[in-house]
Structures are given as structure tokens and as C-alpha cells.
Symmetry: C2
Subunit: 280 residues, 2 copies
DNA sequence: GAATCATAAC
DNA sequence: GAATCATAAC
């Protein structure tokens, strides 16, 4: 999420476009959540320059770090999950939950717009909702792959699976899709339009500070289903959103509250919740 | 480890004596590495007070947080692994590796001394080495319990185990004891004498900054076997030890170096090494 | 020792 | 956005 409304920015060169925050295996789809170690930089001059003139501060270059995935998805086989006519689906490089993907529209006409502007385009929001729905199904099945073995509600189904039962006679099993959330941050930090496809758990080493948690667990997180937002929607208020990031914490699972200066306590609580949640 | 040599300290009350940094199960021995959620404070006035007079700055009270384990081990059933005539063995509350225990001597005559002083006592160092050797075996067997299923060198042995072979016909298996290190920090932060019993991996969420890594992976970590140190041993030099904490990183497993301002890179590398190491 | 907060520099 | 470094306050 962006630092805090209307910030003036310096012109700074950027470092690497794609280092990873986690490790283990490598392999885009099958290893859905495993980030990557180093990897390529954007190939060409992907960041326009305005420096020299007085007013306009040059945009920080790291804000453009999602563009290479759009322009050159084949260069990021570990990160890119799917490319369709209209979108690129990637692994978030600093996943804030067990599953965390980003859906990027390929249309230059839209990818440079702020979500609230882009989603006014009816055909565009409609396309994005469809692509996101399909991405969410993918995320759900990957979540299932990761935690089904701990799941009580999947027990019967998994046993039927073992005994090679046919789909028709298999009990339904856990609804993983309901654990996947789809939406944008009210104040994105990364320039190119992206929709988060994320599991609810917030169990990740990459959740390191208050804003990480609150940006996904307050109204700062805007469901794609709510787009386009009506004029006057609270969520369009900058001060409202800045305040959301500074709020006390509320556990996504049980509603327990933690003072905003008790992030470490929240983290320990999330660890416990994660274990229980897997077992649901 | 201590902040940096000879520091002047303010008089401050302490908060909680025993919160935990990890989560999951609870159960001292069987769940060797699982820390604890809250737990008791020291019962009585365990911290002496000198305030009032001019020079001596009152010791920070958190430095006394290991004392309750010694004075009242039965109050910490999740943390305390073993109590013998001479020592208390506990889980480190912020484990810096897969296995991380602390061995605390019970003798008030020794537990307040700096390691370099205490270990001059021949009977004492001898006792501590024996207790530590036994604690290390315990740590090794717990390490085995945690990672043996990934281990190539344990494969044959584990299969023999499955088929209920007798110990005599079982292949030897991995030497976990060689993965356990035993020693003290050159400048401990916690007041009461404690010996670290720690697996080599440094794979832990609690390893959060440079000093965490370097205090266990430079000469700042003093093997118990090297005690008592000879007069004139480099490791008794404060400036030498302060410098150790500020050094570039060296991977414990492959020797790869990382600039000291690349801690995040080191962490990613340690994640990779951990996966490979488990599979040895 | 752990943890929160603020601040550069990428 | 991530990451390093310094600084209180416990
Ligand atoms: N180079 C990158 N590749 C992939 N994801 C990234 C990269 N840099 C940042 N991110 C993620 O992009 C998201 C941007 O968040 P926001 O702009 O607040 O919606 C965060 O979830 C980051 O973890
Ligand atoms: N309350 C506590 N209970 C158990 N271990 C602790 C506690 N506080 C700190 N520690 C550990 O004690 C060790 C002290 O390190 P040092 O004084 O540098 O040898 C570190 O490994 C800490 O994680
Ligand atoms: Zn909860
Ligand atoms: Zn290495």
C-alpha cells in the first residue's frame, strides 16, 4: 500500500525487479506459493523519465516493478501462473498469506490507471471479475493442495479419494473458495493495476508490520465485487484509508482485538489461528 | 548478546517474564521446540535494587528473566525440559534454530558470574560439561524426531525401523549429535549463566537481525569445550567481540559470504540451505 | 534480550 | 513495495 496520501517523490534508480522473499522449490504452477531467488530484470527502459523540470517529482522506479510481468511474462516462468488474452496471473513476490496471487490486466489503456478509474469501464470491470473468478478457483485448488491433509471437513472426501471412489460418490469436502479473497488496496503502492487473490490466513513471514496486516483486514482492502465504487463511498476518502492502516488489529478469524502497538502479539495469535484453521 | 561493551543503564521496570515467540503445540519435552503463549512472572523480588546512590546504574530488569526458571522450574512446565541436581534445561523462548535449549546452573554461587569467571572453577566447568553433553544428546534426538523423515542418510535406518528390525541389525543413520553446538555468548545479555544447546541450521523466524546470526556464527560463540579460556585468548577482548557482531555474514553450511547489509539475502539463503541440510 | 517507531536509500 | 539502521521504552 502507498505510504500516506499525496507524497512527493524523489528520482531514484531502482535495484532488482524480482528477488524473492521465501524459498524452497521452483516451478510456477505446481509450486504456486514458492517465490523465487533472483531472476531477470525488466529488459528495456520500462520507466519513463520527467526529471529536469520543476514540479513533477519523478516516480520512484520500484513502483514499476510489476510491468515486466505484463510485458514479458515468458521471462518469469517461476512467477507467472497463467497468461490469458487479457491478463497475467502471477505469484506475489512477498506473499502475505498461504496463497497470494496478483492478477494483472494486459491492456496498457487500463494498467496505468488507478483502480477506481479503471473499474468505471464496464467492459473492463466485467472482464476482470471473470478472470478473477477463475484465478480464485485456481487459488482455492492450490490452497486445498496445501492444507487439505490437515482438514477435518476434508477427511471423508480424502478417504474416498484414496479408495478411488468416483466423483459422484465422493462427499463434498471443504469449501476452499470461500477462504479466498479478491480485491485491491485503496492506495496501491505499485503503479500497475493489480488485483490481490489471497487466502484469508495472513500466515506468512512477509507480514512484518501493522500496515501489512491492516491493508488486508480493514476497509483498505476493497473487494473486486464492490467495484465500481459509488461516488461518495467512504472507501474513496484518503483520510479514512490512512486511518484504517493505523487502527488496532482485529483477528480475521475470531475477532480478537490487539492494540496497534502489539503487532508481535498479533503474529503469535495468527500462528495459533493458522493451525486451527487448517484443521477446520 | 549484550548491546556493546560497558553500557550505562537506566532503572526500568520489566514487563512480562515469559511470552513466547513461536506457537503450535504445548508440551515441554515431547514438543521440544514449541514455545509458549503467555505464562507466569517471577514470583518475588527477584531483582536486587541499588538505585539512589550516584554511580551504579540499576541493571535492566529483563536481564533477570532467566532466574525464575531456576528458582521455580515447576512453574514453567512447557519450557522446562529437565531439572537435575545441578542444572535446569529449558527451551529458549526465542529459538534461533530448529533446536535451541538453554542449560542453566542452579548454584547461586555460580549463576550470577560471567561465564569466563564461573568456568575457572574446575569442578563447576566439569559438571557443566557433563550436563551439557547429556543435554546435547537430548537435543540431537529431538532434532532427529523433527527432520529424520527428510534425511537421505536415515532412509535405510528408518525403513529398518518400519520393518521392526532389532537395533543390532539396523544401519547407523545420521549423526545428529554432530549438528548440535554447545557454548556461550562472549557478551551475554541475560544475567544468569546459560549455555546454548543449539542446532546448526539458524533456521528460525526469531533470527531477525545481524547480531542474531553473528553471535552464533563467529568467535562470539564460545564452545563450552574451550572453557576455561586461557588468559590472553582473543575471545576475551571486548573490541574483538564487538567487531565480530558487525562482520559480513558467512553461511554456516557452504561458507558463502554476504555483505553485512544484506541480511535479507542471507535469510533467503539460509532457507535454501535448511531444505538441503534436512535432506542430508 | 524483544519490539515499536521513524528514517534513508533502493 | 522491501530493507537497513538507529532509537526509546520494557
Ligand atoms: N517485484 C514484485 N513482484 C511481485 N510482487 C511484488 C513485487 N514487488 C511487490 N510486490 C507485491 O505487490 C503488492 C503491491 O501492493 P499494493 O500496491 O499495496 O497493492 C504487494 O503484495 C507486494 O508484495
Ligand atoms: N524469558 C526468556 N525465556 C527463555 N529464553 C529467553 C528469555 N529471554 C531471552 N531468552 C533467550 O536467552 C538468550 C540470551 O542470549 P545471550 O544473553 O546473548 O546469551 C537468547 O537466546 C534469548 O532468546
Ligand atoms: Zn483469532
Ligand atoms: Zn550456504
Amino acid at each position: 500500500m502507498a505510504e500516506t496520501a499525496e507524497d512527493a517523490e524523489d528520482f531514484k534508480p531502482d535495484s532488482d525487479a524480482s528477488t524473492s522473499a521465501t524459498s524452497k522449490k521452483r516451478n510456477a504452477f505446481s509450486e504456486l506459493m514458492a517465490p523465487k531467488p533472483k531472476s531477470a530484470k525488466p529488459e528495456s527502459g520500462s520507466t519513463p523519465s520527467y526529471h529536469g523540470t520543476k514540479t513533477k517529482p519523478k516516480e520512484k522506479s520500484w513502483r514499476g516493478n510489476l510491468l515486466p510481468y505484463i510485458q514479458n511474462p515468458e521471462s518469469f516462468p517461476k512467477a507467472v501462473i497463467r497468461v490469458t488474452k487479457d491478463t497475467v496471473l502471477i505469484q506475489d513476490q512477498y506473499p502475505k498469506a498461504t496463497i497470494h496471487l496478483l492478477l494483472l490486466p494486459r491492456s496498457p489503456k487500463h494498467y496505468d490507471l488507478h483502480p477506481k478509474e479503471a473499474f468505471k469501464d464496464e467492459a473492463f470491470i466485467s472482464m476482470m471479475k471473470e478472470e478473477a473468478a477463475s484465478a480464485a478457483k485456481l487459488a482455492a485448488s492450490e490452497l486445498s493442495r496445501k492444507i487439505s491433509r490437515f482438514s477435518a471437513s476434508d477427511k471423508a472426501r480424502n478417504e474416498a479419494m484414496e479408495s478411488l471412489a468416483s466423483e459422484a460418490e465422493m462427499p463434498p469436502g471443504r469449501d476452499y473458495l470461500s477462504e479466498i479473497r479478491v480485491g485491491t488496496h485503496a492506495h496501491p503502492s505499485m503503479r500497475h493495476l493489480h488485483v490481490h487473490i489471497i487466502s484469508r490466513d495472513m500466515h506468512s513471514d512477509c507480514v512484518k508490520h501493522r500496515k501489512h496486516y491492516n491493508s488486508f483486514n480493514t476497509s483498505f482492502f476493497v473487494s473486486l465485487a464492490d467495484q465500481p465504487l459509488a461516488d461518495g463511498d467512504d472507501r474513496l476518502s484518503t483520510s479514512f484509508q490512512n486511518a484504517n492502516l493505523e487502527k488496532d488489529f482485529v483477528c480475521w478469524r475470531c475477532g480478537k482485538e490487539f492494540r496497534k502497538d502489539k503487532f508481535a502479539d498479533l503474529k503469535r495469535h495468527l500462528d495459533v489461528e493458522f493451525e486451527l484453521w487448517k484443521k477446520e
